[in-house]
Symmetry: none
DNA sequence: CGATACCGTAAGTTATGACTTACACAGAGG
DNA sequence: CCTCTGTGTAAGTCATAACTTACGGTATCG
């Protein structure tokens, strides 16, 4: 059920833009805010949501904070999506398979 | 980019529950509403959003309307996710993850 | 030491959307 | 016909969250 946060995080356009801006390279909050039409505190708040969804990673570097993409959230989302393919949408077998996988710690 | 609607559609818990209820088999609006804690018109509105996101398919059958899962929306979402798995990004984020781990003394 | 850059948090405002009830309309069946 | 069933739509309410400005705290640098 943890992909809930990931969906919510990526549903917002501004947040998705920030996230996509990190594909190029890790960036600081100021750098990210510069490319967006919203204020810097707004970017900070979005980054907090992205971090909570395990989509980004923060690494303090002296005065600044360097944000980068983290794959955990993406993995969960992909796992959820794959559950709609693993089997021809029959009954609950896909869901069961997903649960078993996560129980094994994968 | 059209995956925007898909993200928004699946971000709502009620809408995701409705969508997941269709994994078992195609269902009518009444059947779907019965399994949800919200009113029937609410389910109708959710279905409109899901349909607009190309996540469900509707087939009128006499008096009722039979809804079923449509792959188009899921395909777009998966395509978007897969774009984050390019080799460069994979190597880059793996490096970040490794650094963070070693900083934690793990 | 100041002074400045970088960033997070608080508080308040506003827009969005999820929900309700009420209504309209088409098909099935007596 | 008339009624019931199944569903979509309209209008209005209310909660949420996205945004702003203001402020506080911590490094860096002169």
């Amino acid at each position: 059920m943890t992909y809930t946060e990931v969906f919510i995080a990526l549903a917002d356009p501004t947040r998705r833009h920030i996230f996509e801006a990190l594909r190029e390279r890790p960036k600081t909050v100021g750098e990210l805010a510069e490319g967006q039409p919203v204020s810097r505190p707004a970017v900070s708040q979005h980054l907090r949501v992205l971090e909570s969804a395990r989509l980004v990673n923060v690494e303090p570097q002296g005065n600044r904070r360097l944000y980068s993409i983290k794959r955990d959230g993406l993995n969960e989302l992909r796992q959820y999506l794959d559950s709609f393919w693993s089997d021809a949408l029959t009954a609950y077998s896909a869901e069961i398979a997903r649960r078993v996988k996560s129980e094994k710690g994968e």
